[in-house]
Subunit: 910 residues, 2 copies
C-alpha cells in the first residue's frame, strides 16, 4: 500500500530532510529535526500527493489516506498519553500547510483542533486554567470558522470587541474565563448563523475538514498570485502537518518566538529573533503585538535561551545554511516547531555566503551558487546621500526591515498603491500589512508599517521582493481611512513625499537625494571576484549609448560595450534639426549636406565611448529606427492643419514654435510637411523601413556613420588608447543585405585608415533579430565577423508579438498561464531560444571563430544568461546596473555546467 | 587546352543541341541543325564561359580564345573559299548573341562584318551588284557604330533621310549605288565625329570589337530587366555566334523570314510565318515593313517553300516540340539561320501539348510538363462578352498577336503607361514597340500597335507576358507626340477607353463587358484531366469567403475551401454596426448582446458555403484582424474633433451621418469614441491584439462563431448534404493558446450536436503563421487536427517585413538583387520555407495523421506549390482563379518527384 502519511516525533521519523517534494519543506524539516534529536512536538505529515489526489478527485481523498491518518493518530495518542476529544485529557493538534517551497502566510493553518464543548473542560482541568482553555476554544472556533468555513474574521472580532467593552477590558488578557465562555457561546452563534450548521463537535470531523481546508488554500488567490510571482509550479501541491499543540500561552512561563541564526537583513553573524511571552505563534508573525528581541530571553529564561542557541547552532551546522526557526516554550519546556533555510536580503545573502566560506562551512563554489543573481540588485540600489540625509526632517525610526533607500509619494492602501504607482513612485504606509496587501506591496518603491517586528508580514515579504522596508515605526499614527499619518507633530497626507532608509530604519519627510553604491570594494567585490573566477572567459558587456553610461558600466565590471544605439544621439539639442533636414530632404544632395553636419557630432560621441572602454571592444550599431520617429507625428500635423483656419494668434505662435517656422508660413508649410510625413508613415513600423533597410536605400547614412566611427577610432588610437571598434548592422534578414552594408563600411574604414596611416583592427558584424537571419545564419556568418542576438526584436518577430501592444492582453495571458512569464523579460527558451541556438550553431558552422553575444534585455536576466552560456555564446550584454547580476548568473551557469559534466563523468566511470 | 570555340557547318558540328548552357540556345541549335543536315551557313560559337571570363577579367579574354577563333576562322574561310577582308572575294559574317534562355531582341547583333573600303568593292564585283554591296556597308557602319560604339541611331538615320530627300527617293530601295556610296562616306564622318576615331578597316579588329560588344550587351539595362522579369540567372552569360552572312537582300530572288511550325498564338497545326523579299533579318523582327504571310511564299518560290516545310517539319519531329525558325533565301537558295522551341501563348501551349499527345509525338506526362502553370492564367482570362461586342464600335482589325480581352484607357508612351497604371487599367498604343518600352508593356492591360507582324517585338513580348495584344492594325494612325490616334474617322485621345480582343485582333472603342471562360469543357478540361491523374491525391482547395466565390472555385476544380475569412462577412451592410457595437461595448453583457445579433448572419453565410462544397471540407477561420479595423480611424476622429467647434452646418451633418449620431450629440460622442478607439490603437497591428489573442481575451466571440458554424453544419447536414467543417484558430504561437480556444469550440460543437441529435464529424486545427508555431509544431500538433500554413503572415514575421510597408523599398531590394523575387508572391524557400518544412515534420512527429495544407497566397504560385508538394503537404489552397494553375503545378511536382525517384532507383541498381 502506498504511504500517504509520515509520522515524526520521539527522536525518530518516517521521513527525512531530503523529502521536501513529498512532505513539504515544513514536514521534511520536522522529520529531520526529530531524527537529529531536536525536541519537536510529535505529529504526522499528509503528503503533497494527497493534495493533488484531492483536486483530481473533486475534493475526495483515497480511503487509504483516512486509514493511515487514523493509525498515525493512534500512535500519536499513545505517545502523548492523550486522546483527541478526550473529556479528561484531550490531545490538541495544529493543522498546517507546508509546500515544497516556502510560501509564508499564503496558506491556511488551524490551531487548537480537538476542542469541543466537552474536551474544553478536560483541558481546563488538566491545565488547571479554565481561562486558558476557553481562550484556546474561542481562538479555535474563530480560526476554524474563518479558515475552514470562510466566515469573515470581522464577524468574530466584532463580538470579541463588544465583549471586551462590556467587561471593560483594555487588553485581551484582561478577559476572564467567564468572559471567554460568553465569547465562545457567541462565536458558536456566529458560526451557526453564517454556515447554517452547528459548530462540529466531532474532533475527527474537525480534522478532516481542517485538512481539506488546508488543501483548498493551495488555490486561494493570494497563494496562486504568490506562486506566479515566485514562479512556483502549481502542480506541487501542499502537504498537511498535523502536530501536537504546544502552548506558548499557558502563562508567563510560556512563550513563543521565531528567529534566525544570523541577521537576515544584514547577514551579520548574530543570534537573531523575537518572542512573545504567553502567546501563540500567530501573534508574532501577524505583528499584532510588538515582540521582544531574543536577547531579552537570555535574561527572562537563561536555560531555555542557552538550549535554543545550542539547538539552532547545531541546526545551522547540520544544514550548512542560515536557519529560520520557530519555537514554543510551554511551561518552561522548549519545543522546536520548524526550521528551514532562512530567506535573506541580497546584502545578507552575500555576507552570509562570504562569511561561511571564511568559517570553512561551505566552498567558494557553493557560496557563489547561494546568492540569487537578482538579489544583487539590492546591493546596487541607491542609498540616501549623506548630505541629503542632514537636510531632510527625520520623522521616525523603525526597524530596518529590508535595506535600501526608497523615495515616493505616500499611499495608504494596496489598491491606492496600484493606482498611484502608474503615475510615479509610491511608498505604501500601513499599520501592518496582511497577505491581501500583496499586490500593493509589489508596486511600491518602499513599505512603511507602524506595527510588527523584523519577522512581521511586511518585513518578510519586503525582503523577499528586495523592496526597502521600515517596519514597526510605532511613533507614527497611521489613519488608513483618513488617508493620513501623524508623527512628531507633522501630518502627512496621501500624495506627500517621504523617504525611507531600509538599511537604518529611518523615515524622512520629503524627497531624499540618493547615491549609487560602490561595487568595487568590500564584501561584494570579494564575492564577485569568486564569481568571476568561475565565470572564466565568458564575457559580460554593457549596453551604453553615451560615455557617462559607459563609465558606470566599467565600474560595474563590464568588459566592453555590447550595444551602442547611435540613434539616441540624434535626439539631442542641435542635432534633431539636422536629422529632420536629412529626412525631409527631397534629394541625395540635400541629404548629404545634413549628414555632413551630423558627422562631427557622431565622431565626438564615439570618441568618448572608445576612451571610456580603453582596451575593451565597443559595438556600435548603425541607424536602426524608422525615420518617422524623428519627425512630428502625422496625427498632430493633421489636427494642427484642421485647427489652423480658426486658430487664435496664441495657438498659431505655439504651432510656429513647435515646427520652427514663422506664423505666416504655417499655411504653406504644414501641408508639405504632412505630405512627407505621410510618405514616411508605416502600418507596422516594427516590420518596416528601418535597420539595414535604411542603409540600403540611403547608403549615404551608413557611409556617414562608418566614417564617424572610423575617424573617432583613429583619433583615440592616436592618443595611445587601445580601440576595438565593432560596427554592427541591424535587422539583417539575409546575407545579401549584410554584404551590401559591409561593403560600404569596409570601404570607408580602409579609406580613413589609409589616409591616417594608422592601424586599427575593426570588425563588421550583425544583429540577429529576425527569424530568417537565424535560419540562414550559416550564410549570414560568411559575411559577419560577429553576431549579436537582439532578442527583443527576435522575440517580437518569432512570437509575432509587439512588445508595445502586448501590454493590452498580457494580464489574461499570464493569468491563464498561456505564457509562463513575460517573454520580454525572461527569454522564451522553448521558442525564441530555438532560433538563438540555431543561429549560434549554424553561424559557427561556416565561421568557427565567429564572436557571438546577446544585446537584448534578456542579457541581464539570470535564467536567460544561463541559457546564453549553455548555447555557447562568448558574452552577454545588458544595462550597466545589471552587469553584476549577469556576471553572477554566468558564474552559476559555469558551475552548473561543470557539475553536470562531473556527474556525467561519474556515470561513465561507474 | 580548354575548348572555347565550337565550329559548325558542312553537315557536322563540334557541339550539339544538348549544349545550351555552354553554346547558348542559338549556338546549340545551329550545331544540332548542322549535324542533322539542315542547310545552315557555317560558322563558330564562342562559349558562354568566355563571356564570364570577359567580365571577370575587366573586359579581356584569355589568349587561347583568340587563338581558337583564328583557327575556326581559317577553317571557315577554307570551307567558304573566301577570306575576311579579301579585296576579291570577301567573307562576311554576322556576330550574334545567344544565351541559354531566349531573350528576344534584348542583346546586340552585328551583321555584314568584314566589310571595309576595299572589300566592299570585292563584294560588289562578286555579287555583280554595287548597290547591294554599299547597302551592306552602310548597314554595317550604322550597326557597328550603334552597337559597338554606342552612337545614337538617329545620328545615322538623319543623314540617311537627308540623302533620301536629296535623291528624291520614296523607299530605301530607290537609292542607287552612288547614293549609298555617299551615305557610306557620311556615315564614316558621323562615326569619326562621335568616337574621335576612324571607322576600323581591319576586319579582325572589327570582329574582336563586335564580339566584346555582344558580351557587353549582356548587361545592358533592358537585358538585365528582362532577366529579372523572367528570373534568368545573371551568371549564365551569353555565347557569341560568328556565322557566314547570307543575304536576303541580294535582289528579288532573295528573302528572309521567320516562322513557327504551329500557330504560337492559338496552337493550331498550321505552317505559320512571315517573310520579306529583298530584306535582311532585322527588317522582319523590327516590324518596319509589314511582312507577307508565309503562304504567299508557296506561290512566289514554290520549291523553296516545299524545302522549308520539309526541313521544319523534320526539325519539329526531331525536337518533338514546336519550332521557331529563321531562314534566309539567298539568290533562290535556302539557309536556316536558327531554330528553337517556340514560345507560345497559354492557349497554344495547352493545344499543342494535347495535339502532340494525340499525334503520338509526346507522352501525357511530357504534355503536362510542357505547359508553364502560370500560362494557364491566359486561358482563364475573361473574354469580350458577345452582346457587348455587338454594341461597341469596331475601330479596326489587326493581327491577333496575344489572346484575351483587355479594357483600359489609352496611353501612348511607356512612361505614361507606368504613371497612368497607378490609377487604373491602361492600353499601351504605339506605332511599334521597341525593347526600351518594356516597362510600359509590363504594366499595360493590353498592347495595340499599328505596325509589325505576329513576330514583331510587341507580339513576342506580349505573348511572353500573357498580355492581350493586337499588332499591325495598319488602319490606325498613331500620333504618339500628339497623344492621339485616328481611325475610321474617329480620333481617340489619351485617357479614352478602348477594348482589345487579342484572340481575334479586334479593336473596339469604349469599355467592353467581359465574361469568364469555362474551364470544364474542351481541350483545357482534357489537359487538366491528365494533370489531375498525375497529381493523385494531393489536393487543391480554394480560399473563398462567400458562397459565390465557393461556386466559382468548384467550377475551377477546387476540392474544398482551404480558408474562409469570417471577418469579411462583418463588413456588410446591416452587420458592421453590430460589429462596432460589440467592439465599443464596455462590458461582456453588451458585447454578448451584439454578438447574438451577428450569430444568425454568420450561420447563414456558413450554411451557403457548406452547401456549395457538398462532400468537400470547408475550413473556417475564427476572427483574425484587430478590432480597430472595424471602427473609424483615430486620426479621422481627431481631425473631426479639431474641426467641430468651427464646422459649418453642412460639415456637421456630414459628420453626423458618418458616425450615425445626431448633430447635437457629436460634441459629447466624439471624445468618447476617440477614447475607445485610442484604447484599441496599436503600434504594430500585425503583431498586436488579433487572431487567437482576441478569442482568448473575448471568449464569447469564439463561442459565437463556433456556434454559428455548428448550427450551420447541422442545418445543412439535415438536408442530406455532406458537411465537413474544419474550424481554424489563427495566429497560434503556442500549444496553450490552441488548447484554450479548442476547448471552447469543442464544447459548443458538442452542445449543439447533442441538442440536434445529429452526427457531424468536425476538425479543430490551426494556422501556422508565426515562427514560434512552426518551431514548437510538435507540441501544437498535440492539440490540432490540422495545420494550415498562413505563409503571408509567416513571411512577414519570419522576415520581419511588413507587406504593406515593403512597397516603399521593394524597388531597391529587387534591383539590388537582395531579394530574388517578391517574397509575398514567391515563397522564400530558403528562409520561410525552412519554417514550413520544420512545421510539417515536427507536427507529424507527434500526430502522424495531421492534415497539412497552405492557405497563403503562395498556394497559387507554381514554384511554391511544388515546394508544398515536396515537403509533404496534403493540399494547397489559393484564390479560385488560380486553382487550375495550382492543379497543374502540383501535377508537375508529382511528375518531377517520380522522375527523381526513378533516377535514384537507376543509380541504385546500376
Amino acid at each position: 500500500m502506498k504511504k500517504y502519511v509520515y509520522f515524526f516525533g520521539g527522536g525518530t521519523a518516517d521521513g527525512d530532510g531530503t523529502m521536501k517534494g513529498l512532505l513539504g519543506g515544513k514536514g521534511a524539516g520536522l522529520a529531520e529535526m526529530s531524527r537529529t534529536g531536536v525536541p519537536v512536538p510529535p505529529g504526522f505529515t499528509i503528503t503533497t500527493e494527497v493534495c493533488n489526489l484531492y483536486f483530481e478527485n473533486d475534493g475526495k481523498v483515497p480511503e487509504e489516506v483516512d486509514q493511515q491518518m487514523k493509525e498515525a493518530l493512534a500512535k500519536l495518542e499513545e505517545m502523548m498519553g492523550q486522546k483527541l476529544g478526550d473529556p479528561e485529557n484531550p490531545l490538541l493538534v495544529s493543522v498546517r500547510s507546508g509546500a515544497k517551497f516556502s510560501m509564508p502566510g499564503m496558506m491556511d493553518t488551524v490551531l487548537n483542533l480537538g476542542l469541543n464543548d466537552v474536551s474544553v473542560e478536560g483541558l481546563a482541568k488538566r491545565a488547571q486554567n479554565p481561562r486558558f482553555a476557553y481562550d484556546c476554544y474561542r481562538r479555535f472556533i474563530q480560526m476554524f470558522g474563518n479558515v475552514v468555513m470562510g466566515i469573515d474574521k470581522d464577524k468574530f472580532e466584532r463580538v470579541f470587541e463588544a465583549q471586551k467593552k462590556k467587561a471593560k477590558a483594555k487588553f485581551d488578557t484582561d478577559l476572564t474565563a467567564e468572559d471567554l465562555k460568553k465569547v465562545v457561546a457567541e462565536f458558536k452563534k456566529v458560526y451557526k448563523k453564517e454556515t447554517g450548521q452547528e459548530f462540529p463537535q466531532d474532533p475527527m470531523k474537525q480534522l478532516e475538514m481542517a485538512r481539506n481546508a488546508v488543501f483548498q488554500s493551495w488555490w486561494n488567490p493570494r497563494a496562486a498570485h504568490y506562486r506566479k510571482m515566485n514562479k512556483i509550479d502549481d502542480h506541487l501541491g501542499t502537504a498537511v502537518n498535523v502536530q501536537t499543540m504546544v502552548f506558548g500561552n499557558l502563562g508567563d512561563n510560556s512563550a513563543t518566538g521565531v528567529g534566525f541564526t544570523r541577521n537576515p537583513a544584514t547577514g551579520e553573524k548574530e543570534f537573531y529573533g523575537e518572542y512573545l511571552i504567553n502567546a501563540q505563534g500567530e501573534d508574532v508573525v501577524a505583528g499584532i503585538r510588538t515582540p521582544k528581541p531574543i536577547s531579552m530571553l537570555k535574561e527572562e529564561m537563561p536555560e531555555v535561551y542557552e538550549q535554543l542557541k545550542e539547538i539552532t547552532t547545531k541546526l545551522e551546522q547540520h544544514y550548512r545554511d542560515v536557519q529560520d526557526f520557530e519555537f514554543t516554550i510551554q511551561d518552561g519546556k522548549l519545543y522546536m516547531l520548524q526550521t528551514r533555510n532562512g530567506k535573506r536580503t541580497g546584502p545578507a545573502a552575500v555576507k552570509i555566503a562570504v562569511d561561511m566560506v571564511h568559517e570553512g562551512l561551505i566552498s567558494k563554489e557553493k557560496a557563489v551558487m547561494r546568492v540569487e543573481p537578482n538579489q544583487l540588485d539590492q546591493l546596487l540600489h541607491p542609498l540616501i546621500e549623506p548630505k541629503s540625509r542632514k537636510t531632510l526632517k527625520l520623522l521616525a525610526k523603525g526597524l530596518p526591515a529590508s535595506p535600501g533607500a526608497a523615495v515616493g509619494r505616500i499611499v495608504f492602501t494596496a489598491d491606492d498603491a496600484v493606482e498611484a504607482a502608474k503615475k510615479g513612485p509610491v511608498i505604501l504606509v500601513r499599520k501592518e500589512t496582511v497577505p491581501d496587501d500583496i499586490h500593493g506591496m509589489e508596486v511600491a518603491k518602499g513599505i512603511l508599517t507602524s506595527r510588527g517586528g523584523m519577522t512581521s508580514h511586511a518585513a518578510v515579504v519586503a525582503r523577499g521582493m528586495g523592496t526597502p522596508c521600515v517596519a514597526g515605526a510605532e511613533d507614527i499614527k497611521v489613519d488608513e481611512r483618513g488617508r493620513k499619518m501623524t508623527v512628531a507633530g507633522v501630518t502627512l497626507k496621501e500624495g506627500d513625499w517621504i523617504s525611507l532608509d531600509g538599511t537604518t530604519g529611518e523615515v524622512f519627510a520629503g524627497q531624499a537625494t540618493t547615491v549609487e553604491p560602490d561595487p568595487t570594494s568590500g564584501i561584494l567585490a570579494e564575492f564577485m571576484g569568486w564569481a568571476d573566477e568561475f565565470r572564466g572567459d565568458f564575457g559580460v558587456r554593457a549596453n551604453a549609448d553615451v560615455p557617462r553610461d559607459a563609465k558606470v558600466a566599467r565600474k560595474f565590471g563590464a568588459q566592453g560595450i555590447g550595444l551602442c544605439r547611435t540613434e539616441h544621439m540624434f535626439f539631442g539639442e542641435g542635432r534633431i534639426e539636422h536629422m529632420q533636414a536629412m529626412i525631409l530632404a527631397d534629394n541625395e544632395k540635400d541629404r548629404k549636406k545634413a549628414l555632413r553636419k551630423l558627422l562631427p557630432m557622431q565622431r565626438r560621441d564615439f570618441a568618448g565611448l572608445f576612451k571610456a572602454m580603453d582596451g575593451y571592444p565597443v559595438i556600435i550599431r548603425t541607424l536602426d529606427p524608422p525615420l518617422h520617429e524623428f519627425v512630428p507625428k502625422r496625427e498632430e500635423i493633421m489636427v494642427d492643419l484642421a485647427k489652423l483656419p480658426h486658430a487664435t494668434i496664441k495657438e498659431k505662435r505655439a504651432m510656429s514654435e513647435r515646427y520652427g517656422v514663422p506664423v505666416r508660413e504655417l499655411k504653406k508649410y504644414l501641408p508639405n510637411l504632412l505630405r512627407r510625413v505621410e510618405e514616411l508613415h508605416e502600418f507596422n513600423p516594427m516590420l518596416g523601413h528601418r535597420g539595414c533597410r535604411l542603409g540600403i536605400t540611403y547608403p549615404e547614412i551608413t557611409e556617414m556613420q562608418a566614417r564617424a566611427i572610423a575617424q573617432a577610432a583613429i583619433q583615440v588610437a592616436k592618443k595611445g588608447i587601445k580601440v576595438i571598434p565593432e560596427v554592427m548592422i541591424p535587422l539583417i534578414g539575409s546575407a545579401e543585405e549584410l554584404a551590401d552594408q559591409k561593403a560600404i563600411v569596409k570601404r570607408v574604414f580602409e579609406e580613413e585608415l589609409e589616409k591616417a596611416g594608422v592601424e586599427v583592427k575593426y570588425m563588421i558584424g550583425t544583429m540577429i533579430e529576425i527569424p530568417r537571419a537565424a535560419l540562414t545564419a550559416d550564410k549570414v556568418a560568411r559575411e559577419a565577423d560577429f553576431f549579436s542576438f537582439g532578442t527583443n526584436d527576435l522575440t517580437q518577430t518569432c512570437m509575432g508579438l509587439s512588445r508595445d501592444d502586448y501590454v493590452k492582453f498580457s494580464k489574461e495571458y499570464e493569468e491563464k498561464k498561456i505564457f509562463k512569464a513575460d517573454p520580454f523579460q525572461v527569454l522564451d527558451q522553448e521558442g525564441v531560444g530555438q532560433l538563438v541556438e540555431m543561429g549560434v550553431k549554424r553561424g559557427r558552422s561556416t565561421r568557427p571563430e565567429l564572436e557571438v553575444g546577446i544585446c537584448g534585455e534578456h542579457g541581464g536576466e539570470p535564467s536567460s544568461v544561463a541559457f546564453c552560456y549553455r548555447v555557447g555564446m562568448d558574452y552577454v550584454s545588458c544595462s550597466p546596473y545589471r552587469v553584476p547580476i549577469a556576471r553572477l548568473a554566468a558564474a552559476q551557469a559555469a558551475i552548473a555546467s561543470k557539475q553536470k559534466e562531473a556527474a556525467a563523468e561519474t556515470m561513465r566511470t561507474a
